[in-house]
Subunit: 254 residues, 2 copies
C-alpha cells in the first residue's frame, strides 16, 4: 500500500493511495487518530469513480457524524484505471443485442457479475490493508453501493464475513423460478447481515420487478426496502440521513 | 366536548373525553401548557381501541420527544362504543363469502370504505374540537394509521386539508385498470402530502401486490415505502424511530 497524498479539511483527513494497481482514497477523522474504528467500503456507480460526488458527500457524513473511516477504490476501467478492451468489446456487443431487441437489465447483470470476479478479491485486499493502519484498525465493516455499486456489492457482501451491514440498491435480479436463479439472486441468498435496500420507484434502468426480486432474494432476517418516486438518479436527500442512522445503529463500537 | 378524566405521568398529560358520542383520548406534554403545537391524529387497528399499546407507545414518543399533541378516538363498534348490527351482519356475510371461495382483501376494503363514511366526519369534528383547546391550538396536523387505521386514514387524509403528513400502511388497493379503480386507490390519488408507507413483506392479510398498488396510487410527490420482512403484526421497532423523525421533519413549527 503506497500513499500518494494527504490533505485535511473540514474535520476530514483524506489519503490517496495505490494498492498493487488499484487507486483508492481513505477518509478518516482529522482530529481523532487512534483506531480501531468502524470502516465503510463504498462502491461507486457505472462511469463514475472513487471521488464521485455521490461517494464524497456520504463519506463526509460517515466520518464527521459517526467517526468512521471510509475507503473507496476505482473499479476496473473507471477513474484512474486503464481501459479494458474486453469490457469495451462486451459493451459494444450488448449495445448491438439491445438494438436487436434484447432486454438490457439481464445483460448489465451478466456484465457486473464478470467485473465482480475482479472487484471481490480487490476489495478484500483493500480491507486487509486499510485495517492494518493504526488510525483505522480492525473494527466492524459496512458496505455502501448502489447501481454498479450494488451489482458488485452483492457478491462482495456475500463473500466477505467482515461486512456486518450493507446499504444496497438501484439494482436488480431476475425473479427466481423453480429451474433457474440469476447470479445476483444466488449471491443475495448468501447475504444474512442487515441490509437497507434503496429503490427508485420509476427507475428507467432497473425494472421494478427486478428490484423487488433482488430485495426478496436477500436472506437477511433484517432487511428494509426504501422506495421513493423518481428515476434512477433522483434519490431523495433524506435517504442519506437514513443511511447514516442505519450504519450508526449497526456498526458503532459501543 | 366533555372531559371525563385527567392524569399526568412520565411527562404526559392524558385526558379522556367524549365528543358527541365518540370516546377519545388526548395526550399533551405535561410541562408545557401553551399551544399552538403540532397535532397527530392516530387511527387504531381492527378489533383494537384508542388506547391500544400500538397507539400509546407511539403517542408517548410523539409527545415526549417532539412536544406534539396526540389524539385518538374509538372507531364505531370498537373500544367503548356500542356494537353495530349492520357491521356484524356484513362481517358474517363476508365470512360466508370467503368460505365459498371469495378473496378476503377486496371485501375488507369495501367494508372499510363503508366505515370511513362515518369516521371521516367524526375525525374532522375531533380536529375542530381539539384545536380549539389552549394547550393544543391550530398547529400543523399529521395522521398515523396502519391496517384498519390505513383503510380509514386514506379517505380521511384525502378529505382533510389540515393534514400535512401521514404515516399509512399494512393496507392495500386493487391495481387500477383502464376501466376500474378501487375506492381506496381513488382516495389515494387525491393525497398529495408527504407519506411514509409501511409494508410487511410477508403480510398474511394484505397481498403484496395490493400494498404496492396502494403506494403506487398515492399522488404525493414525496412518498416513501418502507418494506420489512415478516407478517402483518411483525413491524420492527426501528420503524417507530423513523416515524418520529418523519413527523418531526414535516410538522415542526420551526
Amino acid at each position: 500500500m503506497r500513499f500518494i497524498s494527504e490533505t485535511s479539511s473540514d474535520g476530514l483527513r483524506e489519503q490517496l493511495f495505490v494498492l498493487t494497481d488499484v487507486p483508492g482514497v481513505l477518509w478518516t477523522p482529522a482530529a481523532d487518530a487512534a483506531g480501531p474504528r468502524p470502516l465503510i467500503l463504498m462502491g461507486h456507480g457505472g462511469g463514475r469513480h472513487k471521488k464521485d460526488p455521490d461517494i464524497t458527500r456520504r463519506a463526509h457524513r460517515f466520518v464527521t457524524e459517526c467517526g468512521f473511516a471510509v475507503v473507496a477504490v476505482d473499479v476496473p476501467a473507471h477513474g484512474d484505471r486503464p481501459l479494458e478492451e474486453e469490457y469495451d468489446r462486451i459493451a459494444s456487443e450488448n449495445q448491438a443485442r439491445v438494438a436487436a431487441g434484447a432486454e438490457l437489465a439481464p445483460l448489465i447483470a451478466e456484465f457486473q457479475a464478470l467485473v465482480a470476479r475482479r472487484t471481490v478479491p480487490e476489495w478484500q485486499a483493500v480491507l486487509d490493508a486499510v485495517q492494518r493502519l493504526d488510525h483505522v484498525g480492525a473494527g466492524p465493516v459496512g458496505y455502501w453501493g448502489v447501481s454498479l455499486g450494488c451489482g458488485l456489492g452483492v457478491p462482495f457482501v456475500a463473500a466477505e464475513p467482515r461486512v456486518r451491514a450493507a446499504v444496497l440498491g438501484l439494482g436488480g435480479a431476475s425473479a427466481s423460478t423453480p429451474t433457474s436463479t440469476s447470479a445476483s439472486a444466488e449471491a443475495a441468498a448468501r447475504i444474512t447481515v442487515p441490509v437497507e435496500f434503496l429503490v427508485q420507484w420509476d427507475d428507467e434502468r432497473v425494472p421494478r420487478d427486478r428490484s423487488l426480486a433482488l430485495f426478496d432474494a436477500l436472506a437477511s432476517p433484517e432487511k428494509t426496502l426504501h422506495a421513493n418516486p423518481g428515476k434512477h438518479g433522483d434519490m431523495p436527500e433524506f435517504e442519506i440521513d437514513s443511511t447514516v442512522r442505519f450504519f450508526a445503529r449497526h456498526l458503532s463500537l459501543t
